[in-house]
């Protein structure tokens, strides 16, 4: 018996030692070897999905953007704190007239392959992005562009087909990042990206990880993180366990259900920022029953949004406003401008108009908080007397079904990358986009006019007023029921600091240092 215990003890010790020693060798967090400097030897981020590709021109997904934003840079960027647009690769810009944008570029910047960053590179990138032969997923970003002219090495002139207010917002979008023309002609940027950013590309094992390294020649000095690894971990619980075990140092988009678990971990800090994204219930306006304003009012008054938000563990901001608090065009008076929760009103309307006799399908994607919303709202609508069945679908089928308009009610979300109200209202609710991105098939001529004005006006004060009017029009109409505005989250190993978390859900690790 004694012998057995001894054996067991030896075995466990051996295992523990093995585990510890290997932990040291594979330890990815900060190092003390460089004499207390702020340098971080390597930082690993767990990504739920793999990047589709590493070229800003050919991709439009967040996993790719996470890499692209660290390797490439855009002409303009949005300040994460103030949400104002400021030049990045650009030096300055001016508008001689409503249709013309003259952009001066910073000088002396080189791409990672040694190519000079100049007006030619800008023209090359933008022409490629908008060329129909490229079939770029976000060609529409430059849809208003008419001509691009190189004035001199560091000046480029862009003419738009019509006055276009959110143009700078479009240029700060990561899909409008500037690529090295020589590299693009020589190699496939989807596999080997070359930009001007603070990180250089090292390797990509598709499905496994992307490895970047600090760019020693970066103009503001190289970042403290020497090696940045973006590792694919498709299961969020696994990613959280890896964070706890120290195998990764950084995860984002924390699931609401597991927030308390992460907050309870001793080795990480949770960071939160109110976001620009939102989740809302929408009606399919192509169905005549849904065009009845009393029906929409009944639905809106039956949904207790406060009760729902209490389920989000603080990761949701309550406001009726379609244009969220972090988005340009928001006025705080719109917070309570929608139809309030009032179960009695809902019940009365249901009874009066016989809505209980109409079977309603509530379409929902089977991911993230969509299912949570569907379950809660289905129960609340049933409480008011509606006859609602949930229909969940996988994402691809959902996108197709919603686009085709085969539903009564559904939940949609919009992560507003440019943080501009026009970029929210135009694609999602303008009648131009019925049959494509306007999945509600909402069509209101008065509203359309306001949205158009918000896009063509270049005066920002005026735009604010116009967007607010459009916002209120939708709320009066009960066109959507806003469930919540999101809170952007990340968890970072607590020996690190300096993560920049953007309300749009983007983040930047180039300022991360050891504590």
């Amino acid at each position: 018996m004694k012998k057995n215990w001894f054996l067991m003890f030896t075995l466990i010790t051996a295992l523990l030692l093995a585990a510890c020693s290997s932990d040291d060798s594979s330890s990815q967090s900060s190092n003390e070897s460089s004499g207390g400097s702020k340098e971080v030897e390597s930082l690993t981020y767990a990504s739920l999905t793999d990047a589709v590709g590493l070229s800003p021109i050919m991709t439009n997904d967040s996993a790719s953007s996470n890499v692209i934003e660290h390797v490439y840079e855009t002409l303009f960027e949005r300040d994460a704190e103030t949400m104002e647009i400021k030049p990045l690769l650009a030096e300055s810009y001016e508008n001689p007239d409503e249709l013309t944008w003259v952009i001066k570029l910073k000088q002396g910047i080189k791409f990672h392959d040694g190519t000079d960053f100049n007006a030619e590179a800008v023209k090359y990138t933008f022409d490629k992005l908008r060329d129909p032969a490229t079939a770029a997923p976000r060609a529409s970003l430059l849809e208003p562009v008419d001509t691009i002219t190189v004035i001199d090495d560091y000046t480029v002139e862009i003419k738009t087909k019509y006055p276009y207010g959110p143009f700078l917002a479009a240029l700060s979008h990561s899909n409008a990042a500037i690529v090295s023309p020589t590299a693009d002609q020589k190699q496939d940027l989807m596999k080997e990206p070359v930009g001007t950013g603070p990180f250089k590309f090292v390797s990509w094992t598709p499905g496994d990880q992307v490895v970047l390294e600090a760019n020693p020649e970066y103009r503001d000095g190289p970042p403290a993180v020497k090696k940045f690894i973006l590792k694919v971990v498709p299961e969020v619980s696994t990613a959280i366990s890896m964070l706890q075990a120290g195998e990764v140092q950084f995860i984002d988009k924390l699931p609401t259900e597991q927030l308390s678990r992460i907050e309870g971990m001793k080795n990480v800090n949770v960071e939160k920022v109110n976001g620009t994204g939102e989740y809302y219930l929408t009606f399919n306006f192509s169905r005549p029953e849904n065009q009845d304003p009393e029906f929409r009012k009944a639905v809106a008054s039956a949904i207790d949004r406060d009760a729902f938000i209490s389920k989000l563990n603080g990761l949701g901001v309550r406001s009726d406003s379609v244009i969220g608090p972090q988005v340009f065009g928001y006025q705080d008076t719109a917070d309570n401008a929608g139809t309030p929760y009032d179960l009695e009103t809902a019940k009365e309307l249901v009874k009066k108009n016989g809505y209980d006799k109409r079977p309603i399908t509530l379409l929902t994607a089977n991911r993230g908080n969509f299912v949570l919303m569907a379950e809660v709202v289905q129960a609340q609508l049933a409480e008011a007397g509606f006859d609602v069945q949930i229909e969940t679908m996988e994402w691809a089928a959902f996108l197709d079904t919603a686009r085709a308009g085969n539903y009564d009610l559904t939940f949609l979300s919009w992560s507003n990358v440019t943080a501009d109200g026009s970029e929210l209202l135009y694609p999602n609710f303008h009648s131009d986009n019925v049959g494509s991105s306007n999945r509600a098939q909402y069509s209101n001529p008065e509203f359309d006019k306001l949205v158009e004005a918000s896009r063509t006006t270049t005066n920002q004060e005026e735009r604010l007023t116009i967007l607010d009017q459009a916002n209120r029009l939708m709320l009066q109409d009960d066109a959507v029921v806003v469930m919540y505005h999101d809170v952007v989250t990340a968890a970072l190993s607590n020996d690190l600091q300096g993560l920049i978390l953007d309300p749009t859900g983007k983040w930047d690790i180039s300022a991360v240092t050891a504590k």
Partner: protein
């Protein structure tokens, strides 16, 4: 001639009756099997009398009373994330698991037995049937189910169909295997030479001999069907919410494994008990059917 036929059939009847009693007796001597039978009986009772043994509507939410722990007032198994009574959901879930399992297994068995018998018995058909079986089989089960559900849409009926198709090839291979090993036996050869019809040989003589592996397979499949439903729910392709399906309950509860582990563990135990019960009963049956088995 006619007399002898009549005589044999009477003998057979008697033999059958006797066999049934013997099998039941043997089965009841097997303690594990008896435990399994009790669990299954309880589950069936739960499924039938669900409204009488629960005090809450299984889909009724109460967001103020969510994630209650076990042994709370009014909710002895606690409540889930939406404040729904876990006990009611487990009881109503028994219905769903049983129905989905039975439908999926029955469909799969019908297809599998037919294909397996034909393939094992007729050499000419064997090639073609085995190619069909291979085609179905070389698809990973979950992938096949995912493709079927992608086309048909997410629902429990489609899950049952998908799972049944996925059990056809396994069943067919097993049946074919036993047919192959029995077919060559002397008494079957003898019967053939005496002019017995193929159908008669297949269903009267070979099928009963393949009974043990089929029973073992069917019981295991009942288990697998319930687990597969859970796996599909885990991938978001199972029951439509708020249906109280056990597998869906596990995958929903998984997000709360660190705060309210009972939300995963209770439906997990329900599944395990059911699976266990079907397996031990199948096992016991198998032993009992076997006439040469020593029962101690």
């Amino acid at each position: 001639m006619a007399e002898t036929v009549a005589l044999t059939s009477i003998k057979k009847e008697k033999k059958k009756e006797k066999t049934f009693i013997v099998i039941t007796k043997r089965l009841l001597k097997n303690k594990l099997a008896v435990a399994g039978l009790i669990i299954i009986a309880l589950q069936i009772a739960m499924a039938i009398f669900a409204p009488f043994i629960t005090f809450h509507d299984p889909v009724k939410q109460n967001l103020n009373l969510s994630e209650l722990p076990m042994f709370s007032e009014n909710h002895w198994l606690g409540t889930d994330n939406y404040g729904r009574d876990v006990w009611s959901r487990i009881v109503y879930g028994a219905r769903i698991s049983l129905i989905v399992g039975i439908v999926a297994v029955t469909l799969g068995l019908i297809g599998g037995v037919i294909l397996g018998m034909l393939g094992g018995y007729y050499k000419k058909l064997d090639g073609l049937i085995m190619r069909i079986v291979d085609l179905l089989f070389s698809f990973p089960g979950i992938l096949l189910a995912m493709l079927i559900i992608a086309i048909l849409g997410t629902s429990l009926i489609n899950v049952a169909i998908a799972i049944s198709i996925w059990s056809i090839p396994t069943c067919a291979r097993i049946v074919r295997g036993s047919v192959l090993s029995i077919k060559e036996k002397e008494y079957i050869m003898a019967m053939k030479s005496l002019g017995a019809s193929d159908l008669r040989i297949m269903f009267k003589h070979i099928l009963p001999n393949a009974f043990a592996p089929i029973i073992v397979f069917a019981t295991m499949r009942m288990a697998t069907a319930i687990l597969s439903t859970a796996s599909l729910s885990y991938l978001g392709l199972g029951a439509q919410p708020p249906t109280p399906e056990w597998g869906a309950m596990i995958s929903q509860g998984q997000a709360f494994m660190w705060t309210s582990p009972h939300l995963t563990i209770i439906p997990g135990i329900a599944i395990m008990l059911t699976v266990f019960a079907f397996n031990v009963v199948g096992d016991g049956l198998r032993d009992a059917i076997d006439p040469n088995m020593d029962i101690q």
